[in-house]
């Protein structure tokens, strides 16, 4: 693992089942994450992924790559375009800093509507 290393591209199919089951597993009961009629009434195209799930996906993307021994220290994310049901969310990542066992990874998650999430994850890897 070195500065400049790329993470393999990863695709998440945001099916309605995925959007709803992750919203409930993160205990987020806002209607826009499970009720399409209300989501549309509120001006959305469809139900969309909640921010706690995006944080979880970003963490998973990095730990899937870094391995189970890596310790997650920080997840900082900024949200852009919503990730709606039926979108494909494509993750890209790169190591932007390495200081001994501490790595900083930049992550982008993109749908056809633009960047859904941009952020950085800090992890600590075994020596």
């Amino acid at each position: 693992m070195r500065t400049g290393d790329s993470l393999p591209e990863w695709h998440v199919e945001a099916t309605p089942t995925f959007v709803i089951s992750t919203a409930l597993a993160t205990r987020d009961f806002q209607d826009v994450h499970h009720d399409r009629d209300l989501a549309i009434q509120r001006g959305s195209k469809d139900i969309f992924i909640n921010i706690l799930t995006t944080t979880g996906l970003v963490q998973r993307y990095v730990t899937d790559w870094a391995g189970p021994e890596a310790l997650v220290r920080q997840v900082n994310i900024r949200l852009g375009a919503p990730c709606y049901a039926y979108d494909t969310l494509k993750f890209f990542g790169q190591v932007i800093e390495k200081d001994d066992q501490d790595l900083t990874i930049e992550v982008v998650g993109r749908t056809d509507h633009g960047d859904h999430v941009t952020g950085i994850v800090k992890i600590e890897v075994p020596a």
Binding site: A25, F29, R42, L52, T63, V72, V75, N76, I77
Partner: protein
């Protein structure tokens, strides 16, 4: 009229709210539900929770009610009353001091850090509200979060985005250094700046030769042929006067300089191309590129 900034200062001044206890201690069933939903097969979450779950433990739940001293709730209420009725989360910065063990019972405290606005956003006019939360096990801080939401007034019946029209292209800014180039396009000539002193060809144009320092630029009329040196396919955002996706290529002219322009057709590096001139209106003709037959 509500003075939002004054109300925000009043809430911020109160500092942290009283600790709010999570419904359940950190527990395996909730961890497993989360792993299953996220699809995470990490084998390490049998005695500790995934760090990214920290906020889950203290979510208010299906019938959750905000406590009276919750600063985010108080600020939301003020913005609701001011007509900013919709909300969307924009930032979450979480720092985990350590992994949380099954059985530990978390509580959370929150303070209001910042309220800025009104800002015009894609969703409508709104205020950005930033809070800072700390999670505790007993009196040990175990994780922290800066969380920002946009509280906005939904735009009146979102007008459908009009299709960009061909006449709305972004116009070049023509000045004394670039006038000759655009004049050339109108006459069907692709002009490359040439130093009046040493003869060096250069593009984009500038007032002074980087080689000899002469300030008397002339130009040469290019043959209009070259190869694709590099390119990007532009998908997002929308650009006035363009249908996405479109290709912007860096063309290496046979005369030796490189020039940016739109390329019509499937791009590939090294492909031979020729210039085409498209008249936008009486004042503007744009050069672009298309694959050429010659090899």
């Amino acid at each position: 009229m509500i003075d939002i900034e004054k109300e925000a200062a009043r809430i911020a001044e109160k500092g942290e709210c009283a600790p709010r206890l999570a419904r359940d201690p950190v527990n395996l069933p909730m961890i497993n539900n989360w792993l299953e939903a996220i699809g995470d097969q990490h084998p390490g979450y049998t005695k500790v929770a995934p760090p990214a779950m920290v906020q889950v433990w203290t979510m208010a739940g299906l019938h959750g009610q905000r406590t009276l001293d919750d600063p985010l709730g108080a600020m939301m209420k003020i913005l609701d009353e001011a007509g900013f009725t919709s909300v969307v989360a924009t930032n979450s910065d979480q720092t985990y001091h350590r992994y949380l063990k099954v059985g530990e019972h978390l509580s959370v405290t929150t303070s209001l850090e910042d309220v800025t606005g009104p800002k015009k956003t894609g969703l409508g006019e709104g205020w950005f509200v930033t809070t800072r939360s700390t999670w505790w096990v007993g009196d040990e801080p175990v994780a922290e979060m800066r969380f920002r939401v946009l509280k906005f007034r939904p735009a009146e019946k979102a007008a459908p985005t009009p299709e960009p029209q061909a006449t709305q292209v972004i116009r070049p800014s023509v000045n004394r250094d670039t006038q000759y180039f655009w004049d050339g396009c109108q006459q069907g000539e692709l002009r490359i700046q040439r130093c009046g002193g040493c003869g060096l060809l250069r593009h984009p144009p500038g007032p002074m030769c980087p080689e000899c320092g002469a300030t008397k630029p002339k130009y040469l009329v290019s043959d209009g042929h070259g190869v694709v040196y590099s390119y990007v396919v532009h998908h997002h955002p929308q650009v006035p006067g363009k249908q996405t996706p479109f290709v912007i290529a860096l063309i290496e002219l046979d005369e030796g300089v490189r020039m940016l322009g739109e390329l019509d057709g499937e791009p590939s590096i090294g492909q031979r191309v020729e210039v085409v001139f498209t008249k936008v209106d009486d004042e503007l003709t744009m050069p672009s590129w298309r694959p050429s037959a010659d090899r």
